[in-house]
Symmetry: D2
Subunit: 373 residues, 4 copies
């Protein structure tokens, strides 16, 4: 086997010879065009890395038999954490681009038309892979209008495949913390009943303990009934309307534009509430890391928008649809994991949480401590 | 003189004994309340420091005889840079607050009502001092609704005094780069004429060289005429409407809700265009640092909004006016220095800039190099 | 109950009135002294927060019955992570201090003598609490020479109490992954034997499976024997000496200046190797977070040293013992968790790891998945 | 002219197809090798950008007629600032690499031998270009031992050409703030005399005002004599030895291993002391940015060392010369701009600075304000 050389291993002959400036071709002096090229190349390299991580966690989550006892969930958590760390570097890089003043950018900006936008198919495909649906994109088709056909196809393909968010939904639904379908129907009846006979707690009676669906006679427990009571008590007068949203989120068949089912929402909330139990730790970190990624993406979009505004003002696309306006609308809209974020509204104080039955507590713990100690 | 002791000098007996948690008073366990108090205290200490810097630069800019040959403008630049550096730390600190999960916050959140918002009079007063006018605040009076009278008075006072932005306007107006009032009138006539007789360049004839107003017969130069021509040529077909905005920004008496006069805008643009000349370097840095501060403030507001959303969802003020909505509207609106930012739209390529006459170039240079060398 | 007011709750009357500059007292102009005071106050506030976290995790780790099935280990992990996050902000703050140029510092530096060093008893006490022993401090007594008696006492007390590092040692020793004492003796004999009869693998025979010490006849397994073989195979020729260190670290009674026993080292290595198993995830994160904290502390000391050097050069204490030299020596020496860091040297490739017996694997997993699904 | 396409312009077909993992070739699973490749590629891209900036400022500084009235010095300042900004991103990137745990690295580490070090010829060449001399490199030839001949040649060439530091020395020497050679000789005599007849201030008499060398009879002023007196007064008893260093640094022909001449040191100190004057602002920023770059490089080396230690412990090169030891020694030694940093030791308080004569003050100011106002 040949010895490996750092320069060859990294294919630096390719990497370091991929910066051909337009200004050079046109024999015009524009010192900062090299920076413009190189920083975008680093962005694209990092996007490739983000895809490498995203693909790997999609693959793990796709396994029908994803095993909580394997390192797999932990691996997903770890890689999501890495993705957030990379996104922080990408945000930081904007500082470098901002050392290019508007006048410096003008030296070569017109030479790049129409390429001067941010037309990264990798980034758009990443959004799709994580869970941003086409119908929720600001500007719809606009975002692919200047891409090569082969790259549009890649994005479209990613949009039709199961996104990471959809896989998370399935994974959550598989968790044993939601009521069985029959119970669910009763709950829905109860929800309707509640609106008729407020205060009579009719709902309570119809809500069967979801664990009882496990055919475990010893554990009969109306968890969601108890929880809804506690949640109701926690609401201020002005917040009473939240109860309807509560029912909608956790007990009803939601409209198609939501990715998470009521069952998945219940599992996610349960994880947030009881994250202290060993079995829920990694799942909690997984959900939390998704929020972290969404926040970093949001900051990235926001800083990108501000940077573009500072760099080119309102000049491009003068007709009201300036670069900044498009970026702002996209930034406001493209929260990929907002369905997870909104669950925060339905938490209650830890000291008012329903106490889990002993039998269930045990199941959420480790097998080991007993015999091994 | 007594020896100075680190602990006493920093008054740590005060500082380190100012954390009394409500949870402790109510004998409830809430580990993270200490973090909540301490992080807000560090924010307030930094706000005090920002006021210290802001007051000092307001004082410098207020001098009618602010001398370009003194270190004063440089000092303003330096302190603005420090303020931006501090703001970066404040943004970074949000990372720490985000280690507090929603459930951890719920442990003590209700004990703080109605204080649980972000009611920093120092921050609001800082915005006012820098240049955010009351009438442009989102929610108007709302932002002072929970403050002590003495602090409301401080903010109101700051709102009536000359803001830093207003002082920058005056400083820019004082600069010798704009035409005299008589010339200005002609230019406005010319602007009107232009719209009547497009292409005849009537405006050119009436635009007297602004430097000629200096009674310097040798320098008669139609700078703004030349520049407008160059700018016109730089516009794409779809951008032609920008010309009207150009006239409005640089030659007309603008509506009262703008802080910068046309004269100040001309000086600011001139500085951006010819920042390479020694005399314009510090002024350019000053303007650039204001944009940097606005961007950091914007990022701060944005991350603060996201953090609040992640922490409490949509619970508080359920009636549509959640904490997040208020913060978002304020973040979208409160760009203090946007009048400077918009000037970017009127820049042109460096290689198409009108060449400055030798005599003017000399005046923008140093006195020294000649005889000292 | 009284309504809570933001300003009062944060005790801002205290906090914002604790900045009395010496320059003001002496009627000398020194604009940056306020920054000097305020930044140190923010440091001390954050140190107080670090103590709040450190105290809480020391308390948890002190429990003789620390339960792996409770959220407690996870809480320790989370708070260590927060400490690292805070340290990152503290490092970032140096950027702000560096906006003070040497000439700006000179405006007031001499007024502070002899307080001008960095005499934070909170920081020194924090080091002690985490595990820095007095005898390993650079300069020994020097670091307390200018402190108040009451604060020296606090540090000394922290030095005599069980440090977090010592508690981690005890916690690791309690873990069921090391051989029993009898086995250990045999191993030591084996180690001696090995050096006599190299290659005969006499050691292997005497190393009883540590799990067999659990009176579990089904699991008889020479884990450490297998591992040492695998490790030996992984060593390059020039690294063969590492084997002696291996024996010393994992099987011998180490000199008193080490905090970790051989038993604790074995448990820590086992955790690093098999971190994928659910029961080892939180312990792995705990160890990893300690390395992260050490690294942040190291960066903090390093940047602090560079900053002092840039600010005052070699002036103070001209006689060879400049501020910088002291800080450098301390930075080089004060790695609190280096005993954990060094274990990295003894890892081997994952694909060469001894496969854990089924029975043990099960014990490292969750109780739940079976019956609950 | 063809339309420009984002993907083609950035040559992404090259960039995104340059990641061939060894683990893949050997059909072994090593998820993190892709990260390892990509992060190093981004480092190398940034190094290329740093060279782009370094080359441009070397070119500017090489001009014999570098004009203080042109934007050139300002451009150098700006690009140094950009380099520091890039270095901050490079440091930040280490956070990403640290998400790769030691066990993850072991998955592919052995496949890379002997390339597993950090053998970036671009980085070494950059150090040389900035001013790190070969004879001050830790380990001398070692650093080139695994490079391709063509890259070694590039580094060697950079080492023989004038470094940026040498160009700064020449630029400083050209500044009109030092005494003429004749005066200098007298000063040296005076320095010797001083040690013989302490207190008689013989030196003072022989030190001719350096400005008088400009044949400007009106300005006869013993600046350095005055300054030495003020500096002497500022020294504490224990610091008196500093005076000898003062003479050595500012008035003697220094040993060959220093890059800065006494004359350059005088100019640099003068700039630091009187940075408030317009003509000295950009030069001050230039010197300050060099210190900033050195500090960022130092932090980079330090964090790199810690990261390597955390990743591989002491395994590689077990015989005492571990990777960490080499990196640590290099980090301690390779301060490229330390001759500038040490000048801080010779500053005095601003309020004790010798007042500059009116005539000189004028020369340090702008030409413009008079007639233009």
């Amino acid at each position: 086997m040949d010895e490996i050389n750092y320069h060859d291993y990294l294919q630096l002959d390719k990497i370091l010879n991929a910066q051909a400036t337009e200004s050079n071709k046109q024999n015009i002096s524009a010192h900062d065009e090299t920076l413009f090229i190189i920083i975008h190349q680093t962005y694209e390299l990092w996007f490739k890395q983000l895809h490498h991580e995203a693909d790997s966690i999609v693959e793990i989550m796709r396994k029908p038999s994803l095993n909580d006892n394997s390192p797999e969930v932990q691996t997903v958590v770890h890689r999501l954490n890495r993705m957030a760390t990379i996104l922080r570097v990408l945000i930081h890089q904007i500082d470098v681009l901002e050392t290019m003043t508007p006048m410096d950018f003008l030296d070569f900006r017109d030479m790049l038309r129409p390429a001067s936008g941010f037309q990264s198919w990798q980034f758009k495909m990443l959004e799709a892979k994580l869970g941003l649906k086409f119908e929720y994109r600001h500007g719809k088709e606009y975002y692919t209008s200047q891409l090569r056909t082969e790259h549009i196809d890649l994005i479209k393909k990613a949009e039709t495949e199961q996104s990471f968010l959809q896989l998370v939904n399935i994974w959550l639904e598989r968790m044993p913390f939601g009521p069985s379908p029959t119970t669910l129907r009763n709950v829905q009846d109860g929800a309707k009943a509640r609106s008729r006979e407020e205060g009579k707690s009719q709902a309570a009676k119809t809500e069967k303990d979801f664990f009882s669906a496990q055919n475990n006679a010893e554990i009969v427990w109306d968890f969601w009934n108890d929880y809804k009571k506690a949640y109701t008590n926690s609401l201020a007068e002005a917040e009473k309307d939240n109860l309807n949203v509560f029912d909608e989120v956790f007990f009803q068949q939601r409209e198609s534009h939501y990715t998470f089912s009521a069952k998945a929402n219940r599992a996610a909330l349960f994880i947030m509430l009881y994250r202290g139990y060993p079995m829920l730790q990694a799942p909690f970190q997984l959900l939390n890391n998704l929020l972290e990624i969404d926040e970093q993406l949001s900051t990235w979009r926001h800083r990108h928008m501000n940077m573009v505004h500072r760099m080119i003002g309102t000049r491009i696309g003068t007709g009201g649809s300036s670069g900044k306006d498009y970026l702002k609308a996209a930034a406001d809209k493209h929260y990929i994991f907002k369905e997870i974020a909104q669950l925060t509204s339905f938490l209650i104080e830890r000291r008012k949480l329903p106490q889990l039955p002993k039998k269930i507590e045990e199941k959420l713990g480790f097998a080991g401590p007993g015999p091994l100690k």
